[in-house]
Every structure is written in structure tokens, then in C-alpha cells.
């Protein structure tokens, strides 16, 4: 017989109570998995997008949220002049309601820029010129809109023809509508305006940080991010992540108090047994370890339940139309280890006080209790 076996016996005594407690903290852990999976997925999806575009730096106007404010396209020529910059491509990105899909990324891309290079046509073709009134759909966008080459699509009040469907190599690319920049500028009545400049650096050039500082000095009011960091640097995502963490922490705190309550009930009703263990010579430190092991085991089980619940929730969310083509949830080893680590931390935090209470039990008085 080991301490762990004893622990499992103790937990299985009140099966319903144990199960409900596991559900309580398990849902908390599930929320953490789902919320962080989303936040991390959001970042990773965009990082992927910049990777497939082979974009090193992203220039936009400082301030603003997820979708940046527009600025004159003339800035891109200035950026192109800066030493170390090899190629630039301007973008006007809009999130619009397209037909039955409420939020769809429409990506107006500078014609003949590298932004068209990563698009692998799976059916149809690319546009032949900047002013051909056509669009290319990402594979996911085509599914969501239920369109194939030859179909018509309405963006705001203008009608376009779908000429091709392309695999962009990243979920964010595949969830978007690709159109040439001047056409979208026309639709949006934002003539000569863009909101992003994607920059490729000379492979032999100075490091990206130095170049981005030079760009920032040359173009007042702009902000330059290393591509992998664009999203984690954006205020919108920072807020999103802070909210997710906040919600997670509240869920975990609620769960911690639930487990603590269960553990206190459990040790109160076992005062006499703990008195017996002390009488039989158990060291107080062993009693402490037993109670802590109980709460940690409880929370570990809840961690497993929470991971399963969290993954299930993410899978369901991925099926939601507003999620598709925007975020691919990240279910990584890091996330799962974090969830289990948090579960164990909750176990220690919630078991410590009840366990300390047990070490103060007077065995003689405890044994007298009936």
C-alpha cells in the first residue's frame, strides 16, 4: 500500500462529490485551454501568413486595432529606397460582410507584387491585369461563400467575377478574398490609400531591427514590426490576450475555492481518522503530504477532463462560420503542459490550507470525537 493508493481510496469514498469537484475545476481548465488555444492560434495563424508571403517587416500607421488605419501609398516608395529593403508590397485589407458571410477578410494586393507569389491556383486562374474586374478566393473562403470560378460575387455594391481559387499556404490566406489593390481602393473609395506595407529584406542586409528603426525615422507616424511579432505587438491582440488570461484566472480562482471547499469538508469529516493516523505514529508531514496528494490528484484528473473539454470546445468553435479562415486554434504541447501545470498548481493552492489544518489536529481530542 502506498500513499497514492490511500489517496485514491479516500477520493473514491464520495464519488459524487469527487466527480462534481473534478467537473468544476475541469471546466476552469477547459476554459483556459480554449481561450489560450484561440489567442495563441490567432497569433500563429498570422505568423504563418507572413511566413508564406516571405514578408520580413510590416509597416502600418501607429495606433489602431487589428485592422490598421489607411495611409497614402506613396510611403511604399519611400520604404523601397531604404538600404537593406529588397522588395515592398502594399496592401489594403478590409473586413467586410460578403453575401451570407458576416466577416470576411478582403485583401487588396499591389499588382505584380510578391503578394501574389504564394497563391497556388487550385482551379481557374489569377487575374491577368490590375483592372480586370475579378477576384481570387482562398480555398476556405470559396467553401464558406460556396463559390467556384465563373461565379459572381458582390463586394459592397460592385460585382466581380471569381476567376480562381488559390491555396495560400496559411489559414489566414485561405480565408481571404484576394483582389488587386486599385480595384479595392475603388470599391472602398480609398483612392491611393493602403493600410499595410509588406517588406522583404535583402538577405545580406543589416538585421531587421536596425532596418525597421531606419524606416520609422524616415516615415513619421508609422510603425514597423518584425513579421512574427506583428500580432503580439498589436493593441487589439494584446487586449484579446489580456481578456483571455483574465477570464482564465477567474475560472481557475473559482475552481480553486471549490476544491478547497471540498477538501475542507473531506478533512473535517475525517478528523477522527486523521487522529487515528497520528496515534499510529504518522508524522505530521506525512498527513500534510496525504492531503496535498489528494487535492493534487483531484486537480490532475480535472486537468485531463479540462484538456478534453477545451479541445472539444475549440473543435466546435472551428466549425463556427466566424472562426473559419481566421484562426486555426493552436493545441500544442506547450498549451497542454501549461493546462496540466496550472491544474497541479490549483491542487497545491487549494489543498495547502486544509492540509495545514490537519497537521494541527490534537490526536487525543480527535479520537474522542464520534
Amino acid at each position: 500500500m502506498t500513499l497514492l493508493q490511500l489517496t485514491l481510496k479516500n477520493l473514491s469514498r464520495r464519488r459524487v462529490r469527487t466527480a462534481l469537484t473534478i467537473m468544476g475545476i475541469g471546466l476552469g481548465i477547459g476554459a483556459v485551454v480554449a481561450l489560450l488555444g484561440l489567442a495563441w492560434g490567432l497569433e500563429a495563424s498570422w505568423t504563418d501568413a507572413y511566413k508564406v508571403r516571405k514578408t520580413d517587416l510590416v509597416v502600418r500607421r501607429s495606433g489602431g486595432g487589428l485592422i490598421a488605419q489607411p495611409f497614402p501609398d506613396s510611403a511604399s516608395e519611400q520604404v523601397a529606397q531604404i538600404p537593406g529593403v529588397s522588395q515592398v508590397a502594399s496592401l489594403l485589407t478590409e473586413v467586410l460582410s460578403i453575401e451570407s458571410v458576416p466577416m470576411m477578410v478582403v485583401s487588396g494586393r499591389q499588382w505584380q507584387s510578391f503578394l501574389w507569389e504564394n497563391l497556388k491556383i487550385v482551379s481557374g486562374r489569377l487575374p491577368t491585369s490590375a483592372d480586370e474586374k475579378v477576384v481570387v478566393l482562398g480555398t476556405l473562403a470559396a467553401e464558406m461563400l460556396e463559390k467556384k470560378p465563373g461565379d459572381k460575387i458582390t463586394i459592397e455594391i460592385d460585382e466581380f467575377e471569381v476567376v480562381g481559387i488559390a491555396d495560400g499556404g496559411a489559414v489566414v490566406e485561405n480565408g481571404a478574398i484576394m483582389i488587386s489593390l486599385p480595384l479595392l481602393q475603388g470599391v472602398m473609395q480609398k483612392d491611393k490609400m493602403v493600410n499595410f506595407i509588406n517588406v522583404r529584406l535583402d538577405p545580406k542586409s543589416r538585421d531587421p531591427h536596425t532596418v525597421s528603426q531606419v524606416i520609422q525615422q524616415h516615415i513619421p507616424g508609422c510603425r514597423v514590426d518584425i513579421a512574427e511579432e506583428v500580432l503580439s505587438q498589436s493593441d487589439g491582440v494584446k487586449t484579446f490576450k489580456a481578456m483571455n488570461w483574465g477570464t482564465s484566472i477567474i475560472a481557475l480562482l473559482v475552481g480553486t475555492f471549490g476544491v478547497m471547499n471540498t477538501m475542507f469538508m473531506s478533512v473535517f469529516e475525517r478528523t477522527r481518522e486523521i487522529g487515528i493516523l497520528l496515534a499510529l505514529g504518522w508524522k505530521r508531514s506525512r498527513i500534510l503530504r496525504m492531503i496535498l496528494l489528494e487535492s493534487v490528484t483531484l486537480c490532475f484528473a480535472a486537468g485531463i477532463v479540462g484538456i478534453i473539454a477545451g479541445i472539444a470546445l475549440l473543435k466546435i468553435l472551428t466549425l463556427m462560420p466566424w472562426m473559419q479562415g481566421r484562426i486555426e486554434p493552436q493545441i500544442t504541447i506547450e498549451l497542454l503542459s501549461l493546462a496540466l501545470g496550472l491544474a497541479i498548481a490549483v491542487g497545491v493552492a487549494s489543498g495547502l490550507y486544509p492540509a495545514l489544518h490537519c497537521t494541527r489536529i490534537n490526536p487525543s481530542l480527535a479520537i474522542r470525537q464520534v
Binding site: E273, I276, L277, G281, W282, R286
Partner: protein, 238 residues
């Protein structure tokens, strides 16, 4: 008659021990002095509420006195850093209401005190099974306490009290919850344990017939020792 046991070094010395409860409203022990020698079989008698159980708790380091001192082989119990360790090594308890752990089998109950001993798992299993065998419970190793009769439970409790080979056995009315026949069997068992293992036995009882089989009878009243008689000459253990 001079006590023959006086030749032995004292095992337990109780020096003017007082124990009060409820902020001094209850004086459970009002100055108890006793010396118990190695290998003695002592019965403690006295009316209900006279302080017998309180004294036994103090002797067994389950409780601490408000004043006075208890010494084990000359060392004050208050100087032990961990009384749990002291109990595990030197003491075995037997209670009126058995106090087996309800979720554990007979065998597991006997294994519980062995957590504190440096024995291997198979060694523990072997010892526990042997002890249950010795108290006539070899056929009930994997029974839960609730499936055992009172007499059987007390046998398991006796096996458990012997788990770590204690030098002192403390029994608080071990037959109090048993019928006459079972009580007699349990007392026979306890006496044979005492004779075989030569450990010191301190037994609280209401039954004069049981007390008479002890080497020494201590009578308590109102939290004090009022009589201390040697009934059998106690032979020194060298």
C-alpha cells in the same frame, strides 16, 4: 512490600502531571505521579470521569499536560521534536471502539503504522500477514472492518498495535464493547502477547476480574492516583 520491579530502570515517569480542559473548568488530572518499569503489566481502574483515558493519552504522547513532566527512559517527552516518530517507534494503542480505518482492509490497517518504518514492501506485507495470523485473523486478511465482528475487529486492532514492535502497549477498555466470551478471548490474547513479547502493557479497565490478572493495579479518583498495589511479583527483564 518493596516492589521487585524497582530494580529495573524506570521506563515511564510521570511527574506531578496536570491536565485541565475548558480553560480550567474541568480538572481531569490534578497532579499525578507514577513510575512504570519495563515489562510491567499495569491495570488502571477508577470510576467514570476519574481521568483514566486522559492519563493514557498523556502516557501515549497523544496529548500534552498543562504542567508537570513525562519522561521516557529519562528523556522528557516535551524535548522530542516529533512525537509522531516517538509513537511510531515505541507505542501501540488499542481502543474500546477499535478505531480501524473503515476504507482499508484488515491487512491494510496493519500496514498503516509501518509507513514510518524503513522496511521494504514485501517485508511489510509479510510482517502484517504474520501479525494477523498470530491474532487468529489469518483467514480475514482482505476483509473490510465493517464485515468483521467486534471481537475480530479488536484482534485486527491488536495486530495493528504490534505492527512496529512497540515497547509499550496502551489499551483503553479494550473489551468494553465486547460480550463476555469475546472479552475473555481478547484478554487471553493480550496477556499472551505480553508474555511472548515482554512489552510493557498499560490497560484501563472497569472489570476487577481483568484488573486482577495484572502485576499492578492503579486506582484513580477525581484526577488523582489514590491506590497503587502490586498484585503479582513482577520479574525483572534483563
Amino acid at each position: 512490600m518493596p516492589s521487585p520491579s524497582a530494580a529495573n530502570a524506570p521506563l515511564l515517569e510521570i511527574d506531578d502531571v496536570r491536565r485541565e480542559f475548558d480553560d480550567g473548568q474541568v480538572l481531569a488530572l490534578r497532579g499525578v505521579n507514577l513510575t512504570i518499569h519495563e515489562g510491567e503489566y499495569v491495570a488502571i481502574m477508577g470510576s467514570s470521569g476519574s481521568g483514566k483515558s486522559t492519563l493514557l493519552s498523556l502516557l501515549g504522547a497523544l496529548d500534552t499536560p498543562n504542567s508537570g513532566e513525562i519522561r521516557y527512559r529519562g528523556q522528557s517527552l516535551s524535548s522530542y521534536p516529533d512525537l509522531g516518530q516517538f509513537r511510531a517507534k515505541h507505542l501501540g494503542f488499542i481502543f474500546q471502539s477499535f478505531l480501524l480505518l473503515p476504507t482499508l482492509t484488515a491487512l491494510e490497517n496493519v500496514l498503516v503504522p509501518m509507513f514510518e518504518m524503513p522496511w521494504s514492501r514485501p517485508e511489510r506485507q509479510r510482517r502484517a500477514a504474520e501479525l494477523l495470523e498470530a491474532v487468529g485473523m489469518g483467514h480475514r486478511l482482505n476483509h473490510m472492518p465493517e464485515k468483521l465482528s467486534g471481537g475480530e475487529r479488536q484482534r485486527v486492532a491488536i495486530a495493528r498495535s504490534l505492527a512496529n514492535e512497540p515497547s509499550i502497549l496502551l489499551a483503553d477498555e479494550p473489551t468494553g464493547n465486547l460480550d463476555t466470551q469475546n472479552a475473555a478471548q481478547i484478554m487471553d490474547l493480550l496477556r499472551s502477547v505480553h508474555h511472548q513479547r515482554k512489552n510493557t502493557m498499560i490497560l484501563v479497565t472497569h472489570d476487577p476480574a481483568i484488573a486482577k490478572t495484572a502485576d499492578r493495579i492503579i486506582t484513580m479518583r477525581d484526577g488523582q492516583v489514590v491506590e497503587d498495589t502490586q498484585t503479582h511479583p513482577h520479574t525483572a527483564i534483563s
